[in-house]
Symmetry: C2
Subunit: 166 residues, 2 copies
């Protein structure tokens, strides 16, 4: 009987785990949520003082290999970059430190030079809030993203420069 109970809880746990990643809806342009973004390695960080947010940029294995070998213009097909965004707060224990507070969103740029020809070879996606609500009414939201990234066309449409990590 104990064995059956253990088996039941194991199955219930597994189902729960699967459901947790399956409940994040895809972006309106068909990009699935890259739920492993939090396991990715560091590319860079930023503090935007126009909207009071802190950001960390991570990348999948292909992105990190490119970043570490300084081959990022262009980034290779298969690259995915994640930009994780939080509202800024002051650290109570050191008031001259600005640190991440409320989670705002996580944004992704997926490089596929054949698939995303209309937007510089990049697919865009964004999930907002801790509930990870996909951004955009329909697939056309990507032109808003692309518009903002067009000024950095000469850097393969990417604002981020990988940080120095000796």
């Amino acid at each position: 009987m104990k064995k059956w109970l253990a088996f039941f809880f194991l199955i219930a746990f597994q189902l729960g785990t699967v459901n947790a990643s399956e409940t994040v809806p895809s972006s309106p342009n068909g990009i699935d949520f890259p739920s492993d973004y939090k396991n990715w390695e560091l590319v860079s960080s930023s503090h935007r003082i126009d909207n009071n947010t802190l950001r960390v940029i991570t990348g999948n294995d292909i992105a990190i290999k490119s970043a570490r070998s300084k081959q990022t213009n262009p980034w290779p097909d298969g690259t995915i970059l994640a930009k994780i965004v939080w509202k800024q707060v002051t650290l109570p224990s050191w008031e001259k430190a600005i640190v991440p507070g409320e989670f705002v969103q996580v944004e992704f740029m997926v490089k596929d030079s054949k698939k995303y020809t209309q937007t510089g070879g990049w697919g865009f996606a964004r999930w907002k809030g801790e509930g990870l609500q996909p951004y955009g009414e329909d697939a056309s939201f990507v032109f808003e993203c692309f518009g903002c990234h067009t000024p950095v066309k000469d850097n393969d449409y990417i604002f981020t420069h990988p940080s120095i990590l000796p």
Copy 2:
């Protein structure tokens, strides 16, 4: 002959690889440079406006497991936290964004509650500049580190709170 040449270059390459990681001297208190810190996952980030630096905090596997499960007071033995520090610069393509510039240093806190009883269970180490020069004339430098961290004793001597990563 070609085979011998290939073998020679393979050995030379391997020696070069080994030397690259062995040339970083240990900290005066005996802590070896954790050269894989750049492969570690994200804990948090900060912007210190008193000394104009951006920081990203990463952690080894034990640290990340604790951070993700919100079990960080105390952090478990075996935890290593890295704080990577850069001088702040303005991003030319978006002047309201402050981003990492020159590499300043990487600092580590190593949790071993039996070994580091004099400094709250934490071993401290810092390597400065892209040349990764170990900090401290002798092992007593750790009391300088510990002094600054004493105000956050109630948070296991750690300023950082892991960022929200849904």
